[in-house]
């Protein structure tokens, strides 16, 4: 009744089509990401040029907002599980981010207003991610999760790819009108909400028995014992896009205006590789692909620290960074989904994502401090060593998980 499927064969030669619900969620993510990235493309310039924030301060603020919404994410996840309904929570999250665009217009240059609007936007993102990923896992048989997430994240990345270009198109048509970009972004965000309401089905299934909602079930299971610690370790391995691009800019003396295009190029790689790597993960195992993805991150740190600068470095770092996202972003969720009790799926996913976000916040702050005290090269070397240690820990924590999945 609910799992209507596409007739078009999806990527990969074997296996059935991707669930229509996953494609619908992918379409929502695509449209929402177009909207989000339109603003993201101009916001740093707006903040840095308009309010004289330094790029590093922008990166730190960005990380702070992401971390601060972690609690809201958990609360949203738990509410979704409690009600047995994920779609309303997701809709609230998408709606909140859309409204935040209007807030940005209303703020009209006031720093407090802009801060508030960005917080609302991030809060919306925090709220919607876990229920959305839970709906994907609940609409897909466990053995095809890698591909389902791959397809979803590829659509998501397509939006991230198109967003800055859309912003540039608006700016080309109406030079200097940042207002118009934000308004267009708001309209696109509303369209995403409309698609969600019209086409996404909440995952079905009998309401889980009450006892399944107990936190103990989650915390004592593989979710609490292995996934959450592993996701924290993985978060520690990441220093964030902001720093990566900033370092790249320093090494290659790229104009700051190219920042948005670095993100576009990264999304392009992500978009191309997400689905194939998802299929690969279903075939050879999700853990090796996940760990391999994080190794590209280690390589990125080493390149940024040790390699001679030049255009090739821009290309190499962008490709590696895109590969990292393609291999890991959906991959961790595909790995986590089957290990979490379905009654607490959203909470569990929120827990994994929050652990990752908080650890990422910590690691980016530490990296900033290391950068300031030691300089870039030692800081990057430390980041590379940390990421290897985190990977080893993750490999140990998650290795037995394969038997559980099977």
């Amino acid at each position: 009744m609910y799992l209507s499927t596409l007739t078009r064969p999806a990527l990969g030669r074997r296996g059935g089509p991707v669930a229509a619900n996953v494609v619908a969620l992918g379409a929502v993510s695509l449209v929402t990401d177009v909207s989000a990235e339109m603003v993201t493309a101009i916001l740093p310039l707006y903040l840095v040029v308009g309010l004289q924030f330094s790029p590093a301060a922008y990166g730190a603020i960005d990380g702070l907002y992401t971390g601060a919404t972690a609690l809201l994410r958990l609360a949203g996840g738990y509410a979704a599980d409690l009600a047995g309904r994920r779609k309303p929570v997701a809709a609230l999250g998408y709606g909140m981010s859309a409204a935040a665009k209007l807030g940005l217009l209303a703020a009209a240059g006031s720093a407090a207003g802009i801060g508030l609007a960005i917080t609302a936007d991030r809060a919306g993102k925090g709220l919607r991610t876990a229920p959305r990923d839970a709906m994907i896992t609940l609409s897909t048989p466990p053995e095809r999760l890698g591909r389902a997430f791959g397809v979803h994240r590829a659509m998501d990345a397509a939006g991230a790819f198109a967003g800055p270009l859309a912003a540039l198109a608006v700016l080309a048509a109406v030079p200097g009108s940042y207002d118009s970009v934000i308004m267009a972004s708001f309209c696109v965000a509303l369209l995403g909400v409309v698609i969600l309401l019209l086409f996404v089905r909440d995952s079905p299934g009998p309401r889980p028995p009450r006892e399944a909602l107990r936190w103990r079930a989650l915390l004592d299971g593989p979710g609490g014992r292995r996934l959450a610690p592993a996701s924290c370790l993985l978060g520690l391995a990441t220093i964030g896009d902001g720093f990566t691009y900033l370092l790249l800019q320093q090494r290659t003396h790229l104009a700051v205006g190219w920042f948005p295009l670095l993100a576009v190029a990264t999304s392009g790689v992500y978009l191309l590789l997400a689905a194939p790597l998802g299929v690969l993960a279903d075939r050879i195992g999700r853990l090796p692909v996940l760990l391999g993805g994080y190794l590209t991150l280690t390589a990125t740190y080493l390149l940024l620290g040790e390699a001679p600068g030049g255009l090739w470095l821009v290309v190499a770092v962008t490709v590696l960074h895109g590969t990292f996202y393609a291999a890991t972003d959906g991959g961790l969720m595909a790995l986590a989904g089957p290990l979490l009790p379905s009654g607490l799926r959203t909470t569990g996913i929120a827990l994994v994502q929050s652990g990752q976000a908080l650890a990422y916040l910590l690691s980016s702050v530490l990296f900033g401090v290391a950068w300031q005290t030691w300089g870039t090269r030692p800081a990057l070397l430390a980041a590379a060593v940390t990421s290897l240690a985190a990977l080893a820990g993750t490999a140990v924590l998650l290795r037995p998980a394969k038997e559980v999945t099977a």
Binding site: L45, A167, P175, Q249
Partner: protein
């Protein structure tokens, strides 16, 4: 709802939302904010929301499509610090009075100060430099000079020899900002920050030297007669407490505080021998330009709303 009606609703939403975005852009986004009409009594160049604008002094304001973060004009030379675009680095664009581009210098950083010497020959600017900011405790600036006649470009004053209190001085933390040129197009004044203190320096472009004159003077602006400097100085020496505008007599080194008591973070402009103009940023992010008498008397007066980077018209 069946699939068909859902698709109809979706299509209707797309049309409606697209119409909304286009309508907003056409009716509001594309239109530069209407300028407040105020009679200034003199022809001025200014920026209206980042667009180069002119007022003849009667109150009407002509807003052009040329975008600048900072602008200045003198003797037929119009200088414009282009903002960092989504795809382009920032740049200094030098134009003639008809706004035809004569020279373009790509620059990395965020436009902060810009001046053209009275003869229209020398263009001097200050940028906030990104990236350096994190590694140092303060901010980092870069001040440069372009000689529009010879084409000679000084990317940064940091290569100049510093004479501090009479003796040569070297320190990697030196930052320069806020250049103003004298009538000979060689001597200039600027701010030097080093070792946590800020100094007024006098520079010699040909000799590539600067020497310190007085502490605590920032963003100097030389009067048309070349005898006085309008400047901002941090209240109690602490920039966190804001800045006051004052005028320094170069012969006596005597300082006269002006009647403006609000914090002014701008390089002042001499509209004539006895009137100083400066921009104030309001809490909503818009700018106003005010004037105050240069001798410390009188009261601040609002010159133009929604205006910054004011200079005499080219």
């Amino acid at each position: 709802m069946n699939l068909r009606s859902r698709i109809v609703v979706l299509a209707a939403s797309i049309v409606l939302l697209a119409a909304m975005a286009v309508a907003y852009t056409v009716f509001r986004g594309a239109e530069p904010t209407p300028a407040a009409g105020a009679a200034t009594g003199r022809p001025l160049q200014l920026l209206t929301n980042g667009r180069l604008s002119y007022t003849s002094g009667t109150g009407a304001r002509k807003v052009t499509s040329v975008q600048c973060d900072r602008a200045y004009a003198a003797a037929g030379t119009v200088a414009c610090l282009r903002p960092v675009g989504a795809l382009s680095a920032g740049a200094l664009v030098v134009m003639d009075s008809g706004l035809h581009e004569r020279r373009r210098v790509p620059l990395t950083g965020f436009p902060n100060r810009l001046r053209v010497s009275a003869s229209g020959r020398m263009v001097a600017w200050t940028l906030f430099i990104d990236g350096h900011t994190y590694a140092t405790t303060g901010f980092s600036t870069r001040a440069g000079i372009l000689d529009t006649r010879t084409g000679q470009l000084v990317d940064s004053l940091e290569g100049f020899t510093v004479i501090k209190d009479g003796t040569p001085y070297r320190n990697k933390d030196a930052n320069f900002w806020g250049i103003t040129f004298a009538a000979d197009d060689n001597r200039f004044y600027a701010t030097l920050s080093t070792g946590g203190r800020r100094y007024l320096v006098q520079g010699d472009l040909a000799a590539r030297t600067v020497r310190t004159l007085a502490p605590g003077v920032e963003c100097p602006s030389l009067s048309p007669d070349g005898r006085r400097l309008a400047f901002k100085s941090a209240v109690g020496g602490d920039p966190k407490r804001g800045w006051r505008v004052s005028v320094l007599d170069l012969a006596t080194l005597r300082t006269t505080p002006l009647a403006e008591t609000r914090s002014v973070d701008d390089q002042p402009v001499w509209l004539d021998g006895h009137t100083i103009a400066y921009a104030l940023q309001l809490s909503d992010g818009t700018n106003q330009t005010w004037t105050v008498p240069a001798d410390g008397s009188g009261k601040p007066r609002l010159l133009l709303s929604n205006a910054n980077s004011v200079s005499p018209a080219p």
